[in-house]
Symmetry: C2
Subunit: 227 residues, 2 copies
């Protein structure tokens, strides 16, 4: 088993059978010890964060697979903090797709002159480049096409999948009296036909959830969802 | 005559007949004394910059008006550094439309992982909000619509007008062996029907032009164009 990538919150190994293994770590993105799903730095370590993230990831992936939406998920081994996935080819050097139900975080920082904190946004989708050195810049559909990162057809599929997956996550959170404010996904091209599927994790660190108007921390979110 | 706005490079007055008067100043945007058309600060003062900017603005507006494209331009009084214009209502608190023929400036800073300096971009259009405090953030067509800044139909018109006006400017520069790399425009809704028209200036400070692969400073550009 060959280590091929060391990420901020997990390590990636290639397995002899062609599948990949993601090992979840206890690192959480944030700044100065405060959790921020949009941050590019590891801000803190929380014991058990990796396992809780993997358990929630498994929980959502099983529902998304059941809904017939393509994903890279094969199986999870909770004891070892490991998830086995199909290989996927990312768009360019990787993009993030953000789905926003309420105006918080970087959306509010950018467009604060036009929206109030927490204002409903009705499933707004935007794409950023995974590029730590350039602070994950926002990119338009037309620039994604022009720079050869994805076609307009792929963009439309990405938007559609994002909204469908977002609804699944939002509905599951709502069952626990949690409101999903925003969530970020990663997608890749799967298999020989290059069909677009969800990749990476779907844990508390990828989303902002609120309960009675207050933000719920990732580990707490995972405890609520998995209880 | 009532002063209603003091801008970075000009002041705006309302006239008794309902038209507006723009008085061009000798201030140029930039940082630490170096010209940068994307900068939000006045970086330097250059004697005669206001008049040269106005002369070039008049030069282009007359050609754009002749092409039948709506603009706010009525007349220019070069001696007084003044331009008389129709009133216009901006989109939201104002947006800038950037037309890019080559990858330089903020495009390169954002997407440097996907393009080389000066790479051709074939008339790429993007919109930023005029918001100094938030560093003029990039905004997508769908966010412009969602936040009530403009409709999708207006966005399409804006893109079309931008490309048509850009071609006029690019062709005029080419006559003087100058290559237009990028240019920023402002648009507003004109008259009772709210038709979209070009507003603001079109001077050396709004564009990047190159000659034999080297950037041409705004005042030099104006001297070349008007000689």
């Amino acid at each position: 088993m060959e280590l091929i990538y060391t990420g901020k919150t997990k390590d990636v190994y290639r397995q002899p059978d062609g599948s990949y293994l993601l090992r979840f770590k206890d690192d959480v993105t944030g700044t100065d010890g405060v959790f921020d799903p949009g941050a590019n730095t590891v801000g803190l370590q929380i014991e058990g964060a990796g396992r809780a993230g993997l358990r929630l990831t498994q929980f959502f992936y099983e529902k998304i697979n059941q809904a017939g939406i393509p994903t890279h998920f094969i199986s999870a081994n909770i004891e070892n903090n490991e998830m086995t996935v199909h290989p996927a080819r990312v768009f360019g050097h990787g993009v993030e797709v953000i789905l926003r139900y309420r105006a918080v975080g970087s959306f509010r920082r950018r467009y604060g002159a036009y929206c109030s904190e927490g204002q409903p946004l009705d499933g707004y989708v935007e794409v950023t480049l995974k590029d730590d050195d350039r602070h994950d810049p926002l990119i338009t559909e037309s620039a994604l096409e022009m720079l050869g990162i994805m076609t307009r057809r792929e963009y439309a599929q990405l938007e559609d999948l994002t909204r469908r997956i977002g609804e699944i996550v939002r509905d599951e959170l709502a069952r626990k009296q949690l409101e999903l404010y925003d969530i970020k996904f990663e997608f890749g091209r799967l298999g020989n036909d290059g069909r677009i599927g969800l990749i990476d994790e779907i844990s508390g660190g990828n989303m902002r959830a609120y309960r009675h108007g207050s933000a719920v921390a990732p580990l707490e979110l995972e405890q609520i969802m998995l209880s």
